[in-house]
Amino acid sequence: MSITVRLPTTLQTSGQDSLTITEPVENIAELVRVLRRQLPGFPAQWDDSMLNFSVNDEVVLHRAEERVLASGDVVEIILALSGGTPVPRSAC
């Protein structure tokens, strides 16, 4: 399993503009759980509802967490509008 995650500047804290996830992840919900652990700054921005995902250059604007991922996918984290109040969510 290898998923490339491209990072926005707000998450490039260690100077890298992307990272590779090798843990098995089936969908974006699982990817989020991995990123929470591996990517400093991600939890705060995610909880602030500031981030969107695109998968292989296609933005996912709803049912994002269900979006299935496959090895070789390139996921981009995109700064979305909004942020400031944690969106009251149960998942992730």
């Binding site: 707000t10 602030d48 604007l61 994002a64 967490e65 969510r89």
Partner: protein
């Protein structure tokens, strides 16, 4: 009401003045000055309490003055059609409430003109005791209106004629001995305004401007070169202490992550990337919808020496730029670009490098051109040329080739001077009516109600965006009602949270037509109130974030500042009223349901890239969505307030019998 066409503007003003109170109606209320440029007369009164209670100030009360003084039998540039400036109830008092509106009958679109600007001018007006300026009559000679120390002077503008923004600001500061941001603010036109270029702005700072609908042309028609406000900044005497709550508002602003991580660091250009990756970036006059990553905000960073901001706004969202160290290069540095300019002078005209976009931005700021309408007018002409509808014989030999930045630069100067093909571009959406283009050109004009689209986002995918652009009272403009949070998956995927934001369920699917009218209605109300209090759109709840200051915060601070009580529901109703009176004005100007529509291209042509490939606007679905929007907005089938509400509004607007 007086019959239109039979009485003069002087009669109308005289009649109105008999109804207006001579004293402030609440602490901090500024006066309304009626300025007759032809007679060099100034009269003063205050906006009545019933108007404040129905529309507040700023954009809201501006509509009252326009409704009462407009004679629709005239032409928009007739000097008897007033140009009205208004600052909000909280302008200059609350952090990020730095804004004011300029209102009239648009010479560009032919419908309502209502344009919003920040920087320092609206706050300085308010601090000098003026909430509204109602200006009419053509001056005998070009005039600078000078305001300060409670005085109004009509000064000779001859020495400033022909000056564009950079020189104008230098000369005024030198001649009057003031310092910008400290004791001097100005709203001025450039050569484009003098020449009544329909995309000309009234500049309110190095970049900030009243841009949309041709305010510069309107001001030029009155022979008024500038309004200068001189005086020290100061605090206000308010009904109750307000500074502690200001601190809370400022904290809220600065803690909002979109402010912290994007607006304060990159400014609005960060929006380019989400639109382009979505496949919704208007490209080559919206023939295409995605463009290069070379224009992503990160690529502007090396040219950004710092950020600037408006009066007492802690956000400082305005990126400055520096292209080189050559002091002789007039356009080597400046203020901007914003996302709109990036889109309009990047993908929309086929330019794929950051440097020329920045340079064109700096030129537009100097020439006093609305980058939205100007970039769109050029893109429209380029597509007409591409299709052979316009040829070299029409353009004076110019080849209107996509991506030719040098050509675009030449066109900007030609527009500003109304020279050659620039004269055609200077007529913007009116180019067909004025005989420059054949009628088949209309099919490719990306405008609604005569106004080119404000921002580069192609709204074929997000149906709430599309509805907003169609129903916006000033024409095709996202700043009136955009449900921006539709582009946020986390909010879309949380139905409970989304329903709470919009007062009821709104479909999670961005490309679904169902229930989107609800979100547009809520946004239009809150943004209308934002304009009436003077709050910046970027920092108003729902535009960039669900957690920025909204009706609750406005309500608390209006009470502290003015002593007037408006709860959130009343404010929401005021937002609706503002839309209502704007629709009444537009109806008098001939606007009907059929004008609440979108460019043909969005109905007829599909998006060809990205996750939403094949998306377009379905005419029947759109029409049904529009009907639902009218129904929840209390509008008739023709898009004006339904009978009972119309009578209510007319009673308030018409004043004592």
């Amino acid at each position: 009401m007086l019959p239109y066409g039979l009485v003069t503007i002087e009669d109308r003003v005289a009649r109105l003045l008999t109804e207006l109170p001579p004293n402030p109606q609440f602490p901090t209320q500024g006066a309304t000055l009626f300025v007759d440029l032809a007679r060099r007369q100034v009269r003063q009164a205050y906006t009545p309490r019933r108007i404040i209670e129905t529309f507040l100030a700023g954009r809201g009360a501006n509509m009252f003055y326009l409704y009462r003084l407009l004679d629709e039998s005239l032409d928009p540039i007739d000097p008897s059609v007033p140009l009205i400036f208004g600052s909000g109830v909280l302008t200059g008092i609350v952090p990020s409430a730095a804004r004011g509106n300029a209102t009239s009958w648009s010479p560009e679109s032919g419908v309502l003109m209502d344009s919003n600007a920040g920087d320092y001018f609206p706050s300085f007006l308010k601090m000098n005791g003026i909430d509204h300026l109602v200006i009419y009559g053509r001056a005998d000679a070009w005039t600078v209106l000078w305001l300060g120390d409670g005085q109004v002077e009509f000064r000779d503008a001859t020495p400033y004629l022909g000056l564009d923004n950079i020189d104008m600001r230098d000369r005024i500061a030198t001649d009057l001995g003031g310092t910008w941001t400290r004791d001097l603010a100005m709203a001025n036109i450039t050569r484009a305004g003098e020449n009544q270029v329909l995309t000309s702005a009234i500049m309110a700072g190095p970049k900030a401007c009243y841009a949309r609908g041709g305010p510069g042309a309107k001001m030029g028609s009155l022979k008024m070169k500038a309004i200068v406000v001189q005086g020290q900044t100061h605090d206000f005497e308010t009904a109750q202490p307000y500074k502690q709550y200001n601190k809370e508002i400022a904290t809220k602003l600065l803690n909002t992550s979109v402010v912290k991580n994007a607006l304060r660091t990159m400014g609005t250009p960060f929006l380019y990337r989400p639109s382009r990756v979505l496949g919704a970036m208007g490209t080559k006059n919206n023939q295409e919808t995605t463009w290069t990553d070379r224009l992503d905000a990160e690529n502007i960073t090396p040219y950004r020496p710092g950020m600037a901001g408006c009066f007492r706004c802690p956000v400082n969202c305005r990126p400055l730029n520096q292209l080189n160290d050559d002091q002789a290069d007039r356009y080597g540095r400046g203020d901007g670009p914003e996302y709109v300019t990036l889109g309009k002078f990047g993908p929309n005209v086929g330019i794929d490098q950051v440097e020329p976009v920045i340079r064109l931005n700096n030129i537009c700021n100097d020439l006093g051109l609305d980058t939205a309408s100007t970039g769109s007018a050029i893109a429209w002409a380029m597509e007409l040329y591409q299709r052979g509808i316009v040829s070299k014989s029409d353009t004076g030999g110019l080849e209107l080739t996509w991506g030719d930045a040098e050509l675009v630069e030449r066109l900007l100067f030609a527009m500003s001077h109304r020279e050659g093909f620039g004269n055609v571009l200077a007529d913007s959406t009116r180019a067909i009516e004025r005989g420059h283009y054949p009628t088949e050109a209309r099919k490719y004009c990306m405008a609604v109600k005569g106004l080119m689209q404000s921002d580069p986002h192609d709204a074929r995918i997000l149906k709430a965006f599309a509805l907003g652009l169609a129903v916006s009272t000033r024409g095709m403009d996202h700043l009136r009602n955009r449900v921006t949070l539709e582009i946020n998956a986390r909010i879309n995927d949380d139905p409970g949270f989304k329903a709470k934001l919009y007062g009821g369920p709104v479909s999670a699917q961005p490309n679904n037509y169902e229930t989107k009218e609800r979100a547009v209605r809520v946004c239009e109300n809150i943004y209308g109130v934002g304009d009436a209090v003077g709050m910046c759109r970027f920092t108003t709840k729902l535009f960039n974030s669900p957690s920025l200051p909204g009706l609750e915060e406005f309500s608390s601070q209006i009470a502290n500042v003015t002593g007037l009580e408006f709860d959130a529901d009343v404010l929401d109703r005021i937002g609706l009223n503002i839309m209502g009176v704007e629709r009444l004005i537009n109806h008098r100007l001939g606007v009907r349901r059929s004008d609440d529509t979108l460019p043909d291209r969005w109905f007829d042509e599909e998006i060809t890239v990205g996750a939403y490939k094949t998306e377009k606007i379905d005419r029947q679905e759109f029409d049904a969505m529009l009907s639902r929007f009218y129904a929840i907005s209390g509008l008739s089938d023709e898009g004006v307030p339904a009978e009972a509400w119309r009578q209510e509004l007319e009673l308030v607007l018409s004043g004592p019998a």
